[in-house]
Symmetry: C2
Subunit: 536 residues, 2 copies
Amino acid sequence: MNWTDPHLERREANFQPLNPVRFLARENEAHPERTAVIWRDRSWTYGQFNTLAVRLAELMRGEGIVRGDVVSILSRNRPEMLAAHFSVPALGAVLNTINTRLDAEAIAYILRHADTKLLLVDEAVGAAAIEAAAEAGVAVIRLGDGAGQGETGELLSGEVDPDARLDERAIADEWQPVCLNYTSGTTGNPKGVVYHARGAFLNAMGNALSLGFGAGTRYLWTLPMFHCNGWAHTWAVTAAGGTHVCLDAVEPATILDLVADAGITHMSCAPVVLYMLLNHPKAAALKGTERRVSVATGGAAPTASLISQLDAIGFDLVHLYGLTESYGPASIGELADDMSDDDAVIKAEWLARQGVRHKTSGDIRIVDTETGIDQPCDGVSAGEILLRGNTLMAGYHKDPEATEAAFAGGWFHTGDIAVREPGGAMRITDRAKDVIISGGENISSLEVESVLHRHPAVMLAAVVAMPDEKWGETPCAFVELKPGGGVDAGELASFCRAHLAGFKVPRHFIFNELPKTATGKIQKFLLREQARGYGQ
Amino acid sequence: MNWTDPHLERREANFQPLNPVRFLARENEAHPERTAVIWRDRSWTYGQFNTLAVRLAELMRGEGIVRGDVVSILSRNRPEMLAAHFSVPALGAVLNTINTRLDAEAIAYILRHADTKLLLVDEAVGAAAIEAAAEAGVAVIRLGDGAGQGETGELLSGEVDPDARLDERAIADEWQPVCLNYTSGTTGNPKGVVYHARGAFLNAMGNALSLGFGAGTRYLWTLPMFHCNGWAHTWAVTAAGGTHVCLDAVEPATILDLVADAGITHMSCAPVVLYMLLNHPKAAALKGTERRVSVATGGAAPTASLISQLDAIGFDLVHLYGLTESYGPASIGELADDMSDDDAVIKAEWLARQGVRHKTSGDIRIVDTETGIDQPCDGVSAGEILLRGNTLMAGYHKDPEATEAAFAGGWFHTGDIAVREPGGAMRITDRAKDVIISGGENISSLEVESVLHRHPAVMLAAVVAMPDEKWGETPCAFVELKPGGGVDAGELASFCRAHLAGFKVPRHFIFNELPKTATGKIQKFLLREQARGYGQ
């Protein structure tokens, strides 16, 4: 058929930009009485939350914010932070969410580099940002302390304005940017990852379907919203018409209380948060519960021991993989349908996999870094993970070189190394910088770490390369012990020797609390620096 | 920020055409062992079903089918029919699903008008089509009788080819057509509604989220897949990773058995099917069940009595509204969250509403047909429903005039009349005037009238809808005979049966002078009133 007939071309009636603002506008229409947000001892219906979002948009419009302007925000996971994910794009503006745990210098750099026009600040976490904004002459809106104090306390007022409408047409082009996310900067200056509206819409849809969000979802915000816009769950839970349960801080006692009493169905967090939960006395009360909570985690593969302990308190793990550049989740590793009764060791093997593309992700390749040829599904041939699809950034803000390098050859280069298991599921063997090359042999730091994690006294371990005159590099282990955990370097080395090839056994053990990012990711670059010192 | 920097423009790595083929390809990767399709006493895993779809694609490629070609299909709801929804787009070709209840003449017209290159035929329903194809020199692939008989019985073979892959890149542009659906609209000849890939992908996503499809979904195919591609559920259930339960025919006993024994969670059908179920002796066995089945229905609003009878056997109703031009569902009317204990009268009032836009629909307006101004949400001011969004057809195949008329003013004109309730939900008060909806099938009154006008004794005929408890509506013909024209109802019915599909033949004939306006236009609203009287 001749489908290039002019009358069949796209037109305003059948082509509208994909746009995450529509999620909130639609749920407000569909069930304004349903609970959208819970925070501390208060809750907001979709009608009330929509009104809040419109008020926030009006406030920003009053400050002169127009299409293309960048609005930066430093905030804990509170209702205005969530609302900003709709209010800012509803002005055609760009939301730049800043990691609240960065130092003053980094915050000032990001505010400046993003060309910030306006700063929204949660006063509990934003002192440094307010100072930096004052120096740069950037306008500031203070969100107050959330207890009715502060200049914008009235945003949280519960009354519904039935005529309040977000502008769903402010996104005139689905390629328009809606968010900026600065990568946490393992090397050099942080890069500003530009999210287009199309990707935000599609990753939200994909997350909702992949993780099973629906009208009955109660999503607990253990993951910071400043991290890839909360892996796009800010939009996904809203699209599903679920309830956001906001948290000021990641406190095990609060989390366990909410899980027990507030009907939490889903949460997302780094494994370190899960260890904190398990080590808290309140975890015992959840034992034998029939309620299941789906917990999405990324980073380190969960161990069999972690999986069985979580299982006992009603937590089911899902393993996600992604990067800031992929709007968070790009792949998902799950148990097979019939594995609920299998033992934790089998589950751990399965959940060590980052799995396959999630529902709206595009193509994933694993290619030999030398030849660029796809690796076979043999479980051993490692290669770099390449991504292509609709949920990848537009590029790096004001950084054409880094953008072109990242997208070289028509694929996004993750820098992460993985194998494909028979059947096609991917399993990461090393984050790009985590490979230790000793005497010409590659050592996977993840492999060494997973052995250390099996030792009963170890809470958390990180292994990095230490320079070595003879071998080039050797593994150096940084270990955080469990409270009361008594073990020394000699005992850990023996334990490793029993489970690893000799060249993989760490030559050095350092016992200390591990430095972590705001999202609980271990800051390996700091450990690498430290290890360089030991090695010299 | 300056987001028009060239390095931020879309590129192959971050922009890929939205495309429903990806749904099957992804689920095959994610869980090849999960049951994808059940039919009669057999089932297919996602791996097996993917293999079937690839084999079907190869078979069509062997017949010379390439990008842009139209493949027509006449089939019951069987695995190959479902597979064609992926196999045909995976060749870049266009799937034209033909209503199996049409008469030979209409089928021949559609085959010709669509420029059909290849016809797939389920032999149980396709005799007329095979004949028409032979006359037009169109190649035919027979799907056999499904019992291993017929030339393509081997398509259904269960063995998995792990390397079998659908081509996810055959859709090179998301505006590319993937389907044609002929509609009997208000004018005589059916119009070919062109579905673009973007809309198919997005309506599937929206359906899955709006209706709550997930991994545990068992969708019973009571709705013909030839009807708007099964309201896009062919793709939606697959996207969710659910199970399709195929049905050869809508037989109450079979349906009730499957609901009782096969864990059905969702189905869609016209109210007439629901009445058939309730009137069947097997329905009694379901009384008091704890299992709930979500039943999406369209067309006539369900009565309080229907709702409470269905409730007693575990069926929860959802009211959808849409047209062929909107890929099926554009709006959804549901009970409010807290209504489960309310009585059937209250529920009926609520479910009489077509509700609000569904998850991926765009904007809905209800405008005064004279002034074009939006009607207030007062529950009484009626106006025409206009639609705009991403799930509207590209246009009518080879019909620029009708396309421009449908999209006049930047909105799709449904021709349906509705009011907005306070709160914004829409409730249809009048269907587009000349369409009669009988058992879920559209009947063009003009088509029936034109047949009557061909009878030598008929001077003037007008056909309108008559309410019918079982079918919703049936056609009622008002006939003015020529002077001296001697013909009775029986003879006219036979004449109609010779030229029309059975369901289009009027059930009532009234012989009289037709009421006309001063300018000679037939006053159909008077006839409708009269027919309402006969129908009660």
